[in-house]
C-alpha cells in the first residue's frame, strides 16, 4: 500500500511541477465552455441582406420592415436592379436577397396570390438553408396575419413547442459535448503520455526491476488524472449552470457518477494506448487520431448520428463518447433518472472493464 501511495504522490509531483501543462489541463475546459457558450453558435444572427423592391407599396414596405426587425436579418441595402444583386453576392456583402415584383400588393388583394423571390448564397449551404427558412417563416407569418382577417377555409395552424430547451439555446448541446471532449482529451492523452514518458526516460526499466507490481504502476498512474477530471467536471458544471444558464434538471449525483464512469473509460483507453506506443509523439498521435477525432465526429455532438450511413452508425456505437454524450443530455437537460439510461450506463461500465483489463494484460513486464 505504501508503494502505491508513494507512486501516486510522485505522479502528483510530476503534474504539479509541470505548470504549463497543468494550466492547460485545468484551464482548457473553462476556455472551451466560454468559447462554445458565447462565441460559437450554429445560429445565424444579423445576416446582411438586400431587398430589391419593384413595388414599393404598403405590403412590401411592411414586409421589409418585418424582416429588418427580426434578429436574423439586417437590411443592408435597398437595391435598384438585378445586376446589383449579382454584384453584391460576388463581393460577399449579402447572404440573401429578397425581390418583390411590381404590383405586389395589388396582386395580393385582387388575385389572392403574389410572389416573392428569395435568392440565397448557397456557397455555404447550411447558412443558406437557415436563412431561407427564417425568411420564409417571416413571410408566412405575415401572410397568416393578413389572411386571418379574411378567414379562409382549410387552414392548418401549426403550433411548435421546443421541449427541454424552449429558447433553442445552442449551449444545451455544447455543454455535454464539451464535457465528453475534455474528459476524453485530458484522461486519454495524458495517461498515454505519462507511461510512455517513463519508457523514454529509462525510469520504467528501474520500476520493472523492482518489487512493484506492474498492475499497481498502471493504476497509480491513473489516480491523479481521475482527480483532475473530477475538478474539471466540477468547473464545467459550475460554469454551465451559472454562466451559460444551462440547468441541471436531473440528479446531480447521477451526473457525477456517470462522468466518473466515463473518466475511467478514458483512462483505461489511455493506458491501453501507452502499452503500444514507443514514443510520446506516437502516444499523442494515436490519442488524437484514433480517439479524439472519431469522438468529435461520431458522438453525435457536432453532427447527428442518425443522418449518417449505416456503417458509420455502427462504428459510432463503439465510440464511448457517444454513450456518455447521450447520457449527459438525458440527465442534465431532460432530467431523467437511472431507470431510463441504465442500458447506456451498463455499456460504459462494460467498456471500462474491457479496456482496463486489456491495458493491464498488455502492460509489458519486459522491454521487448
Amino acid at each position: 500500500m505504501k508503494q502505491f501511495l508513494s507512486f501516486v504522490t510522485k505522479e502528483f509531483y510530476h503534474i504539479w511541477r509541470d505548470k504549463r501543462t497543468m494550466f492547460i489541463l485545468l484551464g482548457m475546459p473553462i476556455v472551451q465552455i466560454i468559447i462554445f457558450g458565447f462565441a460559437l453558435t450554429n445560429e445565424v444572427k444579423n445576416a446582411t441582406i438586400a431587398v430589391l423592391d419593384h413595388s414599393k407599396d404598403a405590403a412590401t414596405t411592411s414586409l421589409s420592415a418585418q424582416l429588418n426587425a427580426s434578429q436574423y436579418f439586417d437590411i443592408g441595402r435597398n437595391l435598384f436592379s438585378y445586376r446589383e444583386i449579382e454584384d453584391e453576392f460576388k463581393k460577399g456583402r449579402i447572404k440573401l436577397a429578397i425581390v418583390f415584383p411590381q404590383h405586389f400588393n395589388e396582386d395580393l388583394l385582387h388575385f389572392n396570390k403574389a410572389q416573392v423571390q428569395i435568392i440565397a448564397d448557397a456557397a455555404d449551404p447550411n447558412t443558406a438553408d437557415q436563412l431561407t427558412n427564417y425568411a420564409t417563416s417571416i413571410i408566412h407569418d405575415y401572410q397568416n396575419r393578413i389572411t386571418d382577417e379574411r378567414k379562409l377555409p382549410y387552414t392548418i395552424n401549426t403550433e411548435m413547442r421546443m421541449l427541454y430547451n424552449p429558447q433553442l439555446k445552442g449551449a444545451f448541446n455544447f455543454v455535454p459535448g464539451v464535457m465528453a471532449m475534455v474528459l476524453l482529451l485530458v484522461c486519454t492523452m495524458m495517461t498515454a503520455i505519462t507511461i510512455v514518458k517513463e519508457k523514454e526516460m529509462g525510469t520504467l526499466e528501474i520500476l520493472l526491476v523492482s518489487p512493484m507490481r506492474p498492475q499497481l504502476v498502471v493504476l497509480a498512474k491513473a489516480v491523479p488524472y481521475l482527480l483532475l477530471s473530477v475538478i474539471n467536471i466540477t468547473s464545467i458544471l459550475l460554469l454551465s449552470v451559472f454562466v451559460l444558464e444551462v440547468p441541471i434538471n436531473g440528479n446531480l449525483f447521477l451526473l457525477v457518477f456517470e462522468s466518473i464512469l466515463f473518466t475511467l473509460v478514458s483512462l483505461s483507453l489511455g493506458l491501453l494506448i501507452s502499452s503500444g506506443a514507443e514514443s510520446q509523439q506516437t502516444a499523442m498521435f494515436i490519442s488524437l487520431v484514433a480517439l479524439f477525432l472519431p469522438t468529435v465526429m461520431l458522438s453525435g455532438f457536432m453532427f447527428p448520428v442518425e443522418n449518417m450511413p449505416l456503417p458509420l452508425r455502427i462504428v459510432s456505437n463503439i465510440v464511448p463518447a457517444k454513450w456518455y454524450y447521450s447520457i449527459v443530455k438525458s440527465v442534465m437537460i431532460k432530467g431523467v433518472g437511472l431507470e431510463v439510461i441504465w442500458k447506456e450506463t451498463l455499456i460504459l461500465a462494460g467498456m471500462m472493464i474491457f479496456f482496463l483489463t486489456m491495458a493491464i494484460k498488455r502492460f509489458k513486464i519486459r522491454l521487448a
Partner: protein, 346 residues
C-alpha cells in the same frame, strides 16, 4: 586466439529455509527481508550459458553471440567493450528485462526467465543514462525508490552513507539540475538503497568527468569490500584494471575473460613503444615492414607488435635509421587496450 572461457563449475540450487517456506513462483508478497537469507559456501552469483540475442524480424542484427561466463560472489566484474558490443543487451537479459533467443542465465541461482520476480526483488540496477526523475529532488528520488523496494532511507543508510554524503547538501535540488557526476552518485544510491546482493551497473561512467569517474570506482571498491557482487560495463579500457576480473566483449562476442593481469599475460608477442619527431612517416614505414604484426598509434608513442623475437633487432635498426628525428623506442608491458586490439584482430 580466444582462450577457453571458464564455465561455471559450481552451480547450486538454493534451499531457502524460513518459517513460511519459500515458493519461488509465488513471491508477490515477499519483502526484501524475507530474501536476505545467508547464502554460504562457494557460489556463483551470476551464471551465463550460451546466451544468444538477435534483433529484427529476420534476426539480422546479432547482439550477443553464444556468450558464457560466470561471476563469483563478492567479485567486481567488468564488462569492457565499445558501443554496440552487446553490453546493454547482456545486462538487460540478466536483469530479466529482455528474453534471450536461446541459452540460460541465473542470478544467485534463480533463473532469469522463470524466477524473474525473485530476481527483480533482489538486484540493484542502474541503467545507462542514469534514469532518475528530473523534476523530483534528490531526496524525493531516493525516497521514492526506497519505498518502491519496501524499505526506507533510514534502514539502509549505512550502505550508501559515503556516497550520499557527497550529494546530501543538494538534497532539495531537482535531479535534472545536477551535474553528471552527481547524477551518477544519486543513481548509484537509488540502486543500493534496498541493500541488494548483486549490483548491475550499465555504463555508469559514460558522460561523466574524469575526476568523478575515478571517485566512482573508488566507491565501487568500497562496496565490494562490504560483500556486494558488482557487474559493471564500460567502454573505457583503462577502467578494466580496477576490476577483479574482466570480460572483453566486441560485436557480441567475448574476446577474453580473466583477471586484468591474466589478460595481459595472454598477450603473447613482444610489444614495443616507439616515437620520433615524424610520427606519421614512422607509422607508414613500420606498416610496410614484415617483421611487424601490427602497429598503431598509442598516445605519445606508436605501439609495435612484433611477430617474433628476431624482429626486435630489425626494429632497433629502424629506430637507428631515424636518429636524426630523435627516434627512440623500447619494450613495454601491454595494457588492456593492446590486448583488446590484438584480440579484435583475430
Amino acid at each position: 586466439m580466444p582462450r577457453k572461457h571458464e564455465k561455471a563449475r559450481i552451480y547450486c540450487r538454493i534451499e531457502l529455509h524460513n518459517d513460511e517456506g519459500c515458493d519461488a513462483r509465488d513471491d508477490d508478497e515477499s519483502t526484501v527481508a524475507d530474501n536476505k537469507i545467508k547464502i554460504t559456501g562457494q557460489m556463483n552469483a551470476v551464471v551465463v550459458e550460451n546466451i544468444i540475442k538477435t534483433y529484427g524480424k529476420k534476426k539480422e542484427a546479432v547482439a550477443l553471440s553464444d556468450i558464457s561466463f560466470s561471476v563469483s560472489q563478492g567479485e567486481l566484474f567488468g564488462i569492457i567493450g565499445p558501443d554496440g558490443a552487446g553490453k546493454t543487451s547482456l545486462f538487460r537479459i540478466l536483469t530479466t528485462l529482455l528474453l534471450a533467443d536461446s541459452g540460460r542465465a541465473t542470478v544467485e541461482g534463480f533463473d532469469v526467465v522463470k524466477d524473474y520476480k525473485i530476481i527483480r526483488n533482489r538486484v540493484g540496477y542502474m541503467p545507462g543514462k542514469f534514469s532518475l526523475y528530473p523534476d523530483l529532488s534528490v531526496e524525493e528520488n531516493l525516497d521514492f525508490f526506497a519505498t518502491i523496494f519496501n524499505t526506507t532511507i533510514k534502514d539502509n543508510y549505512d550502505l550508501i552513507k559515503d556516497i550520499y554524503a557527497q550529494i546530501e547538501p543538494f538534497k532539495d535540488r531537482k535531479a535534472g539540475k545536477l551535474s553528471g557526476g552527481m547524477k551518477q552518485k544519486l543513481a548509484l544510491s537509488c540502486a543500493l538503497i534496498h541493500r541488494p546482493s548483486v549490483l548491475f551497473l550499465d555504463e555508469p561512467t559514460t558522460g561523466v568527468d574524469a575526476v568523478s569517474r575515478k571517485e566512482f570506482w573508488e566507491m565501487l571498491k568500497r562496496l565490494k569490500d562490504q560483500g556486494l557482487t558488482i557487474l559493471v560495463s564500460t567502454p573505457y579500457m583503462d577502467e578494466a584494471g580496477l576490476c577483479d576480473r574482466v570480460a572483453l566483449i566486441q560485436a557480441g562476442r567475448i574476446l577474453s575473460i580473466d583477471t586484468p593481469q591474466g589478460v595481459v599475460k595472454g598477450f603473447s608477442k613482444p610489444l614495443w613503444a616507439v616515437k620520433s619527431d615524424r610520427m606519421l612517416s614512422l607509422l607508414h614505414e613500420l606498416r610496410q615492414k614484415d617483421f611487424v604484426e601490427n602497429v598503431y598509434p598509442f598516445g605519445e608513442f606508436h605501439h609495435v607488435v612484433i611477430k617474433e623475437e628476431r624482429g626486435e633487432g630489425q626494429l632497433r635498426q629502424v629506430i637507428e635509421g631515424r636518429k636524426s628525428e630523435n627516434a627512440v623506442g623500447g619494450m613495454v608491458q601491454p595494457d588492456i587496450e593492446d590486448c583488446f586490439i590484438a584480440l579484435m584482430k583475430n
